[in-house]
Subunit: 462 residues, 2 copies
């Protein structure tokens, strides 16, 4: 019977003693003259299966010479393995070559640096590390959809191309079909975007939040999960120009509800990945980050802490630590501060809430102290900030006031303001950068290594 390697590992008893057909790629091949061993991986599972073949095969010599990376079809009996390294092996009666991998195949059996593997991003998922990373990415992604679906949230595909200026978070990419060699001009000599595809200037979205709010005011609980873009010229291990983001938005809810949702979601995702990718996590724990499984277990088992920004600043001022960036009320917390709080003070995840309004976005709800807003950041040991969210300002007059303070143009936001004019409700939401979450789940430390084909400054290969 045709089978996947995962099925054999998970339901060994159903296959033992039976004739099984497998198709996959050779990870290693050892030829001992009259018999040989193939470690075969079919991509269905992190682990490979051992295939034993011997000179009874009519094409023994051809098979014994195959290189790492070749694809083959194998038929054989699943038997107990005399070796101690694996519980079973496939005793091959037929091995047919599907596609060779000559000696210039770049993934010969040896250690490769992550930097090198980025240059062959089309092949790197065939390695243990990247097979594990991208399976975890897939599972985490599914866990997020499952979590929200079980809670009856509506998934909204917010637009990628946006012509509204009202997102304002960071630099944006322009999207155009204008002929760059003969750009149309207005009478005043500006570029005439009326001639462009959308009849106005259009950009790639930096957040689906404002659109998601419109749907929360209809469905109550909604979320987005899609690509977002930042045209920031920063070449760090934590920034990419294209990344995926999860943004739930909940009506009739305040900041407390928002933090509960964030905590529940993160625990659900971590648990789902631990339950469904134990082989991958064990691998990461052994070879990438020895604290990984402890860290993840800590997430699931902790009750997350809550501290206000003002209290956090006091803790930092009292800390017996020399920070590079000096602390005082009003500053934006830096990674060193965040990590001190979550790693030294609380030793578990902590929500910092109620930030000064000056360092947060216009749509966050003003607190009664008139100085802070109902915002939250979730800090985690080992990484710092993973999510940020807020209760949204539902009071039209206060929102308009804030927009005036910040010089935002009311007309650009007509539809967003409508949400406060017509059946507005208390509501809240947060955003989680999906890649940061995958980095957290795997221990990988460069965002380029958790995106299949990363886009960064001067890099859009493949």
């Amino acid at each position: 019977m045709k089978a996947f390697i995962k099925d054999i590992f998970k339901h060994q008893q159903d296959y033992m003693g039976k004739t099984v057909q497998l198709s996959g790629w050779i990870r290693t091949l050892r030829d001992n003259k009259n018999f040989g061993f193939i470690e075969l991986n079919d991509g269905s599972f992190f682990k490979s299966i051992q295939v034993v073949f011997d000179s009874a095969l009519p094409n023994y010599n051809e098979i014994a010479k195959l290189g790492v990376g070749a694809s083959i079809n194998v038929e054989g009996e699943l038997v107990e393995s005399p070796g101690s390294k694996q519980p079973f092996e496939l005793k091959a009666s037929v091995v047919v070559l599907e596609g060779a991998a000559p000696s210039d195949y770049p993934l010969q059996k040896k250690r490769h640096t992550y930097e090198y593997l980025r240059t062959i991003a089309h092949l790197r998922p065939r390695t243990n590390t990247f097979s594990a990373v991208f399976r975890v990415r897939s599972l985490a992604s599914y866990a997020i959809h499952k979590f929200f679906n079980e809670k009856n949230f509506v998934y909204v595909h917010t637009p990628i191309i946006t012509a509204s200026d009202c997102e304002g978070a960071g630099e944006m990419f322009l999207v155009t079909t204008l002929d760059m060699n003969k750009l149309p001009q207005t009478k005043e000599g500006a570029i005439d975007f009326k001639e462009d595809f959308f009849g106005k200037m259009a950009n790639l979205t930096v957040s689906g939040q404002l659109s998601a709010e419109t749907y929360a005011m209809a469905f109550g609980n909604v979320y987005t999960f899609g690509p977002t873009f930042r045209a920031e010229n920063s070449n760090t291990a934590r920034h990419a120009a294209e990344f995926w983001m999860i943004e739930p938005e909940i009506a009739f809810s305040d900041l407390k509800d928002d933090m509960k949702l964030a905590e529940d979601m993160l625990k659900f995702v971590v648990k789902y990945v631990m339950d469904n990718a134990s082989e991958e996590l064990e691998f990461f724990n052994n070879f990438v980050d020895k604290t990984l499984i402890d860290r993840l277990t800590n997430i699931i088992e902790s009750k997350f802490e809550h501290v206000t920004y003002t209290q956090a600043v006091e803790l930092l001022l009292k800390a017996d630590v020399k920070f590079d960036y000096p602390v005082k009320w009003g500053i934006d917390l830096q990674t060193e501060h965040e990590r001190y709080l979550t790693e030294q003070v609380y030793k578990k995840p902590v929500f910092v809430t109620d930030y000064p309004k000056e360092i947060k976005a216009f749509y966050m709800r003003l607190n009664d102290d008139q100085k802070t807003v109902a915002a939250m950041d979730l800090l985690l040991p080992g990484v710092g900030e993973l999510m940020g969210g807020s209760q949204r300002e539902e009071r039209l007059d206060i929102l308009l006031e804030r927009m005036k303070e910040l010089g935002l143009n009311e007309e650009d936001y007509w539809w967003y303001l409508d949400l406060r004019r017509f059946g507005g409700t208390k509501h809240a939401g947060f955003g989680m950068g999906f890649e940061r979450c995958v980095m957290y789940l795997t221990g990988m430390t460069n965002i380029r290594d958790v995106i299949p084909f990363p886009r960064t400054v001067n890099n859009a290969e493949f």
Copy 2:
């Protein structure tokens, strides 16, 4: 206890006779002087709940004057309804206004055209029709993820921004951060994209397929589900500049496996939506498309037909129908031909296979007749084409030959060709436009009405 309206409808017995708190929006309000009725919807469910209130409420007069669209919090006892229209109602003891909706609220209780509702796309999910459309969209989306997850497919986020020229399907949007007012030029006077963000010209993707193939050669079975873009200047009811696409890719598989996967996936999605959105589908069946439920039932219960392109052309030539577009071997089938085949000849879904190579993409596998390729389109009664796929050309020499015929530049495809050089396998895949699927599931006939904020020529509002 706090509750959602969906829970009450689904688990009535748990709530009957209890005090329940609900938050939602007023769909209708009738004031009979000493008592009144509110149809309350909280977005958790298609149906609304009837709230009865009377002058025992201290704020009766305020509540009785509320307009359609206002948001309220209600507390009351769930009791059997004396009316025949609903099994239960909420006898309110407390009603608190959360957000008013003054008389200029655009969604007063009356029929609105779809065209008008597009101009208030931020409010339209509050109507019955669009609440149903976008819940079905969300459920269908989840069904797709669930289908592939259960089959152990890896979900791959293929890149949105692409600098490779090798997709070639249709016109593309340019993505840039260059200052349009002082574009850098090369010595030869061309635009110098070396100065652009990615160091070269970049576009929005038109398909994730080629990237997905790289991951299929590692994980075996993978799929993408993400936004794709076409800069086509066509203003039809079936085309948008931004839409979502599902593209599975399966290794060690041929066209037959591909068609089986397509059939299984579609049946799974249709069944999932029928099971989880019966109220919405009933609504569509009554008010949008009276054939809907029959059509969807037909999908689930049919064994899909298979016919080759060559046979299909013969059937069309014999047909007792005058087609606008004359039929002969070699033409691309038009919607009228497709609909004749699926609606008149087979009366069920039909795969048309083995198209002339001239009308299909370079990567499709050449058949032994040297004239046709192992391609398939799935045609459905009522819409025509829903998906298209193919077995991919895994033979390097034949692929290179095809690329030469079509004037494609080998170097642009180095990584794609590597998949045939190193451990290549027989493989196949297909693409399904998600919006077409949602149109099929709802009976909606304009793509603008199944995308939250559609992007089309001269339109990127919101």
